[in-house]
């Protein structure tokens, strides 16, 4: 029992479910999970956080993963992003199987091919906004693509604040810096974990619009974990998780449509 999304047809045509066979054979998927199981604890304390999830993340799309607390959505994202290991199954980013990589290679993969936006504490407090943006590249020891970095900075509208420390920025500004950092190194895929969870609705809308436009205009692939139907409605496709399983998906979501499905999940 599997759901997935792929970019059949033009990018603007929306998303349609893909078959399990397509997911297993990769194709144009930016990332995929095949039969991923994640178990925490043993014996009575045993929890199946993920229970045989197979999912394809299409390139150049904005995918939202939704679900109630404890549904396994964050765990899924962590596994896809190489932050967590799986108990069984396989995870690929592009054609690289993460589940076969050691810590060193995983770290390098995160650094070179993945961007992150977390709910809070996204920035290193001692570094300026600009230094935070170029940090992944500085860590890698590569020279940033200045033109691209400039484009990203202008898109998030942070030019006047580049020399400020995180403590001198508002929460929304901080998240925009985090988004800029995630995009600046041109990662294959950006993972955002509740990026608007700590923001008021206006700042949240700014961040989400920016994420969406980076997909539409720059062809970025983004996976966002959220429990906010409004946030999810910015995505091209919403994947619903419950009890560690994918239970539904919704292309071209609207806030009301997402809310409707969520109610169904909550029973």
């Amino acid at each position: 029992m599997t759901f997935g999304t792929t970019s059949v047809g033009s990018p603007l045509a929306g998303a349609a479910p893909v078959t399990e066979d397509e997911i297993r054979s990769a194709g144009s998927l930016a990332a995929r999970a095949v039969g991923v199981t994640k178990v925490y604890g043993t014996g009575d304390a045993r929890v199946n956080a993920l229970d045989g999830v197979t999912l394809g993340i299409p390139g150049g799309r904005f995918t939202a993963i939704m679900g109630p607390s404890g549904s396994g959505k964050s765990t899924l994202m962590h596994c896809l992003a190489g932050l967590d290991t799986v108990t069984a199954g396989q995870v690929f980013v592009g054609d690289v199987e993460l589940t076969r990589l050691d810590d060193k290679r995983l770290t390098r993969l995160r650094r070179d091919r993945i961007g992150f936006v977390f709910q809070s504490f996204n920035l290193i407090p001692t570094l300026t906004a600009l230094e935070n943006i170029t940090l992944p590249m500085d860590i890698a020891g590569v020279r940033p693509d200045q033109a691209w970095v400039d484009t990203v900075i202008d898109t998030v509208g942070l030019r006047p604040r580049l020399r400020h420390r995180p403590a001198e920025l508002s929460g929304g500004q901080q998240q925009r810096v985090a988004c800029a950092r995630a995009l600046a190194a041109k990662p294959e895929i950006v993972f955002a974990d509740e990026p608007t969870g700590n923001l008021d609705s206006r700042a949240g809308a700014e961040v989400l619009s920016f994420l969406r436009s980076s997909v539409r205009e720059m062809g970025q692939t983004i996976v966002m974990v959220t429990h906010d139907p409004v946030a999810a409605s910015y995505a091209d496709l919403v994947v619903f998780l419950a009890d560690g399983r994918i239970v539904d998906q919704l292309p071209e979501p609207t806030p009301d449509g997402v809310l409707e499905r969520m109610k169904g999940l909550d029973r």
Binding site: F118, I124, P125, I139
Partner: protein, 845 residues
């Protein structure tokens, strides 16, 4: 309730508190170790001295106002007639002449056994009234026969039947070991070596034919030692006195104890330094614990805990750490005391031993010092904790508002001025000079520690610039972390600063001493060679003037001038005077007279120009003086010579010395070779002559410089070794700070790892921070230390240290070593950081 919270906290922060505890342990261990070491050694000396005199009641000796430069080794011989008079005194049951003097047993390595430690005695057999017992062989019975003590026998490997060489004040002579004896009940000698000869031989070798170095008597039944001493003193000729054996033993052990007291104070100073450094670590740890627990403490306040309860909770933790640390420190101190003893015997100073003595006062002092310092250091953070507003519990983030540094700047500035003034007063020799210097230095250290947050940020930024250049992102992050919290960085660096400052100060002083000695030898030493007895740690051993005459006959030698030193009480002040014939010394010492003649007759003295000016003396001035034998005289200044570092401030003529100082022994012979004579050839000839005197060393000018230099560097090494402990504590402080910072920055570390920072890079970030803190601390230390060294050199310029030499290379090496210290300190915290689970780190609140 608060007590339970304190206990819980002690448990919860085991690791951090353990690190703090180690700082307490190291500090108190040194204090405890020193106290245990001195009380143990004191007791051992008591046992030793009492053992030697248990069997006699009264000792007769030549009256002496003070002991000479050789520590009382040479005494005025007592004629045999005095023994007869003592025997006739009513109440004397038995009396015997004692013969004792220098006799060095030449070991298999050609050196005098025990040469660097306590004295080497030659005695007549049987020595006193029978507290020396033969272990094997027989008593020495004629010339060429000797018995040696069992400890020396064990050390040298000599035993009955061996042929050995013994040096007395004359040339070395061969002897046959005919017996081995035990000293006292225990056989312990405390490092003294004994060679026993038959009485006639002993007298000939050590004192003079028919003479004794002392007379011991046993009281008849019903006569107390004190009574007997009185009776004997009344009976013997003027110039001799009788004292009870107990008094003699007390006087002897008193001298040793005074020396031990100095040693104890010296060692204790380093204990105080360690504790002082440790207090910075304790302060810093508690500050960080409080900062990290801001929310928890605010919650306590929000639910109704009073300020006092919060303070008490923190102080309770400090009490626990202080108490446990001090107890562990006491135990470690016992181990350290054993180690110190080993250290002394390793450098050749064998001290007598007995079971470890742990006085109740030692326990009390150690606990009091450890607990007080911990409580004091924790008090300020505890007070800060109490000031946390309850609302902080509701606020996100731990960022405490940055407190102004202005108060600190003013207080630190005032403290620095006070410290500087106290230090200056101490160095200028006012009142309790040493105590003032110490207090001044402590104040300056505190002031620098208080002020350093003001410039920690710019300095670490500047130091970090090359790191950012070379190491990119990791360098940048490390450098930023070091700048992040100037107070924390400073407190951590301050601990290192103290040790570094002291080492740097001692280094500056040491190289100034060496440079000054070099200069003195260059300008004032006209002699080509010098012959003197070994030196080392023991008292200066004097030797017979006949050696000078012998050396003068060696081919190629133009002149051989004997000299020695003597203590004289001049105008109420004890001074050391060089003894010799001024006319003969003019060449070897390059002496030039500025007024008066280069001759000193009986009760005449020559004075250096500066001293003469200071005292207002001119040729013909008359000064009240007392000599070693107690005789007083009015001494006339016969001449004033240009300041001469070799001759020193005073020069006493030979005739005065012969009249008032026992033995007439000399301590060095200065040799000038004939012009045109080949130095190597002359040296060879001199070596040949001196083969018979294994206790004497021949040195040319460069050897003398080398000896002075090695003496200074030995002292430097010893002090540095003792200061290494404070460096060790400082390293612990850096480890502590980094470990706590890592815990504090868990989320940040998680983020860095998530966005692709490798473990190795993360370790590097922490290592860079550590290196920056260490280098900052060591730079501060070197600066302060050079200041101290300069001040000390200025203060001592009148005492012969008239050249300031700053060993730049050495100081740079210290800073480089500090960088290495930083690398070491970072190992463990960096490993902990790198091992953190990425997800859990991000999720940390």
């Amino acid at each position: 309730m608060i007590a339970r919270l304190t206990l819980r906290n002690l448990q919860a922060h085991k690791l951090r508190l353990a690190l703090t505890g180690i700082a307490v342990i190291l500090g108190t261990a040194f204090v405890a170790g020193t106290l245990i070491f001195t009380s143990t050694t004191n007791k051992a000396f008591d046992e030793l001295f009492n053992e030697g005199t248990q069997t006699v009641d009264v000792t007769v000796r030549a009256e002496q106002a003070f002991t000479g430069a050789d520590g009382g080794m040479t005494v005025e011989p007592i004629p045999a007639a005095v023994l007869d008079e003592v025997r006739r005194v009513d109440g004397v049951a038995e009396a015997r002449g004692d013969v004792m003097g220098f006799a060095g047993i030449v070991g298999r390595d050609g050196k005098i056994a025990g040469g660097n430690g306590p004295p080497q005695f030659g005695i007549a057999w049987p020595a006193t009234l029978s507290d020396y017992g033969l272990v094997n062989g027989r008593a020495p019975a004629g010339p060429g026969e000797v018995a040696i003590d069992s400890v020396t026998a064990g050390k040298t490997g000599y035993t009955t039947g061996d042929r050995i060489t013994i040096v007395t004040k004359g040339p070395a002579e061969p002897y046959q070991v005919v017996g081995v004896f035990k000293v006292g009940e225990s056989g312990r000698t405390g490092g003294v070596t004994y060679a026993a000869f038959d009485p006639a031989t002993a007298q000939r070798l050590l004192v003079g034919p028919g003479a004794y170095s002392g007379i011991v008597a046993k009281a008849a039944a019903g006569v107390t030692p004190a009574e007997l001493a009185q009776r004997v003193t009344a009976a013997v000729p003027k110039g001799y006195e009788a004292v009870t054996s107990k008094q003699a033993a007390d006087e002897a052990s008193g001298d040793v104890k005074e020396l031990l007291g100095f040693l104890g104070t010296f060692l204790l100073t380093f204990g105080v330094i360690s504790i002082f450094v440790g207090s910075f670590i304790i302060f810093n740890t508690f500050s960080m614990l409080v900062a990290q627990r801001t929310r928890e403490l605010a919650l306590l306040r929000a639910v109704g805990a009073s300020r006092r309860q919060v303070t008490r909770s923190i102080m309770g933790e400090a009490l626990g750490v202080g108490l446990l640390g001090s107890i562990a420190g006491l135990l470690a101190g016992a181990g350290l005391a054993v180690g110190l003893r080993g250290l002394f015997s390793a450098v050749g100073a064998d001290l007598p031993t007995t079971a470890l003595v742990i006085e109740p006062s030692t326990i009390a002092w150690t606990l009091a010092v450890g607990v007080t310092v911990t409580l004091f250091a924790a008090y300020f953070p505890a007070r800060r904790a109490a000031r946390i507003a309850p609302v902080a519990a509701l606020q996100d983030g731990l960022a405490a508002p940055a407190r102004s540094l202005r108060v600190r700047a003013v207080a630190g500035g005032l403290l620095a001025l006070t410290g500087g003034a106290v230090l200056a007063a101490g160095l200028s020799g006012a009142g309790e000079a040493l105590a003032l210097v110490g207090a001044g230095a402590l104040l300056v250290f505190l002031a620098v520690a208080m002020l350093s947050p003001l410039f920690a940020r710019p300095v670490t930024r500047a130091l970090g610039t090359p790191l950012v250049r070379l190491a990119g992102a990791t360098g940048n992050l490390g450098s930023r972390n070091a700048q992040r919290n100037p107070r924390r960085t400073s407190a951590t660096a301050a601990a290192l600063m103290i040790g570094m400052a002291l080492i740097a100060a001692v280094s500056v002083l040491a190289s100034s001493m060496t440079a000054s000695i070099d200069k003195a030898l260059d300008t004032a030493l006209g002699a080509d060679f010098q012959v003197s007895s070994g030196g080392g740690f023991g008292p200066v051993q004097s030797f017979d003037p006949s050696v000078a005459a012998g050396l003068a006959r060696v081919p190629g030698v133009e002149s051989a001038t004997a000299t020695t030193y003597a203590q004289v009480k001049l105008g109420g002040e004890m001074v050391f005077a060089t003894v010799g014939d001024p006319a003969r010394l003019a060449g070897p010492f390059r002496m030039e007279m500025s007024s008066g003649g280069a001759a000193a007759g009986t009760d005449e003295i020559l004075v250096g120009a500066k001293t003469a000016a200071d005292k207002g003396w001119t040729v013909g001035s008359r000064i009240a003086a007392q000599y070693a034998d107690g005789a007083t005289a009015t001494v006339r200044v016969a001449g004033v010579y240009k300041d001469n570092p070799m001759a020193g401030s005073y020069l006493l003529g030979e005739s005065t010395f012969a009249a008032h100082y026992p033995g007439g022994q000399i301590s060095s012979v200065l040799l000038v070779k004939e012009p045109g004579a080949d130095a190597a050839t002359v040296r060879k000839a001199l070596d040949g002559y001196l083969a018979a005197y294994p206790n004497l060393t021949l040195q040319d000018q460069s050897d003398m410089k080398e000896q002075a230099r090695s003496g200074v560097s030995q002292l430097l090494a010893m002090i540095s070794a003792l200061l290494v402990l404070s460096i060790l504590i400082a390293i612990l402080g850096i480890v502590n700070t980094l470990a706590l910072s890592v815990i504090e920055r868990t989320r940040e570390i998680g983020l860095l790892r998530a966005i692709g920072m490798g473990r190795r890079q993360l370790r590097r970030v922490i290592r860079y921070e550590s290196v920056l803190i260490s280098v900052f601390g060591s730079l501060l230390g070197v600066l302060v230390g050079v200041g101290f060294g300069w001040a000390a050199q200025r203060a001592l310029s009148g005492d012969g240290i008239d050249v300031l030499a700053v060993p730049a290379g050495q100081l740079a090496a210290y800073v480089a070593a500090a960088a290495l210290v930083g690398v070491l300190a970072a190992v463990w915290p960096a490993r902990r950081a790198a091992r953190m689970d990425v997800l859990r780190a991000i999720a940390t609140q």
